[in-house]
Symmetry: C2
């Protein structure tokens, strides 16, 4: 166990649990050794790897997309749900719920190929800024978590994102921000359809939900995409509870972690009242389920990377 | 270009096309250079990486599974489609078509967790033998293809299987046979459902088709699982044509390959009349689509690994 590991984490129970777990599963010949091929770690994204307040960045992307569409078709400004979006009515947006917002997202950014979407997403990340922090969204990743991802990979882990967010939006920034390649991103997805356009084959995003990757769907999508039970998972809301329990109830050494956003100075303190992604059941039952709760306030020396966010 | 590369391939146009392509995409500073992260190669499995005659090994697995089930429930012996399966009626089986067989497969090996299925599949691979060659099915992989997979990985490629076969059956042997890890296998799949059983979380295979990974669905599933357009693809039937065209019509250096089973001495000569997976349209249009046809008879020095198959 290196003293240099995870410098943005304060010493304490959470950091010790991580360092002890990694030491055990990587100790060849030890009782808890896990071969590298089985060292799968899955991370939620919104609120676990980057800031999701006041709304998930995906929602800001959706608003900007609707603005672009309304510039071409002004009649959208008078129709719901576009009207609520264009008027920045946070209440109306929250009332859509997470799945409603995802469906709106698919309705507004489908009808194009995966590759065309990737260009739109990358252009957005290059110019959009968080309304409170005034920084690009991809610079609001949590420094301790980026360190943890790197530490796990240095110890032979394969790191995945398993998010309720749109799979292709996350893919547009995850490699730069987290070192996680596109094929290790699992998320909500539109149905995809192969088409020939003037002799060129493309995969089109169809205006139809394929998978809403939240709650019980997370372990099911892990089964589809990875086909192995991860040995470590990290989440921050009840939407991650099924994934955390799937990991924690596997045979052998397992670590399930949950960020508690209790730091109102450096970020935002919230849990059960955050309608878009509440944390209640997982927090209330963390002890019984063997989930390690990480306090942002106490366990993280730094929240955002210096020079990247306040 | 090493003279030692691909020793089981005869010198000729196909081998040159592969060696030239790999040299071009790996030459830093060259006009066709592709960064390692984008070096994705996708391979069909049945008939491309292993023998699919007289039927795909998946079908033999299905027959053996139905026998196991009929041992527990003898009434199955008098009911179709089980009757045809149990009587080894190849004609009746062929009449089901590839998708019908897949659906039968899901009906007979679902209702269990992914992990329980993996144990059943591994036990089958350990004992089942090919009816003609008398060897375990996983020993009927093509030696030139295993060499090609290794050669591509040695050149920074990430190798995937994209198969019409059941994803979890392939995962049970692909790592040992091909060096392809479970998470790099894409295939036909049953719907998956998260369940808590006595406090233990499991992912159950439900008796319902999630995706039949054939023809136009292959590129769509590549979009879902990988999120990048591969730069090399290898198939052997019309079921692979959409994937080959998706790869070949991408921007930049691309290689699409098609095995033609024209070797009746060392394997089986077949193409357009193989009802379970015909090759006709892809072969007839290979020139127009820029697909490199590989002759098993002329381009492969060896077909099966020595000591592993006749």
């Amino acid at each position: 166990m290196s003293n240099q590991a995870l410098p943005s984490w304060n010493n304490g129970a959470a950091k010790s649990a991580i360092l002890d777990f990694v030491a055990r599963v990587t100790k060849e010949g030890g009782p808890d050794f896990v071969p590298p091929a089985e060292r799968i770690a899955t991370f939620d994204n919104d609120g676990t790897l980057w800031c999701e307040q006041p709304m998930q960045p995906q929602v800001f992307f959706l608003i900007d997309r609707v603005k672009q569409l309304a510039a071409k078709d002004p009649s959208l400004k008078d129709r719901q749900p576009y009207k609520a979006l264009l008027e920045h009515s946070l209440k109306a947006l929250h009332e859509q719920g997470k799945q409603g917002l995802m469906e709106l997202a698919f309705a507004t950014h489908s009808g194009m190929s995966e590759e065309a979407f990737d260009e739109i997403a990358k252009a957005w990340f290059a110019s959009a800024k968080h309304p409170k922090f005034g920084r690009p969204f991809q610079n609001l990743t949590y420094r301790p978590q980026v360190e943890l991802l790197e530490y796990l990979r240095a110890n032979g882990f394969k790191t995945y994102i398993v998010s309720g967010g749109g799979i292709d939006l996350i893919r547009a920034f995850a490699e730069d921000a987290y070192g996680i390649p596109r094929e290790q991103v699992i998320g909500s997805s539109a149905r995809l359809r192969y088409e020939l356009q003037d002799g060129r084959a493309v995969v089109m995003k169809v205006s139809e939900l394929n998978s809403f990757d939240d709650r019980e769907v997370k372990p099911a999508n892990i089964g589809l995409h990875i086909g192995r039970r991860p040995i470590l998972a990290f989440g921050n809301s009840d939407g991650d509870l099924a994934m955390l329990r799937y990991v924690k109830t596997g045979v052998g050494a397992r670590l399930a972690l949950l960020i508690h956003h209790d730091d109102d100075v450096r970020e935002v303190a919230y849990d059960r009242d955050f309608r878009l992604s509440p944390l209640a059941e997982a927090l209330d039952n963390a002890g019984e389920y063997g989930i390690t709760v990480v306090s942002m306030k106490n366990d993280w020396k730094t929240v955002f990377a210096p020079g990247r966010a306040p």
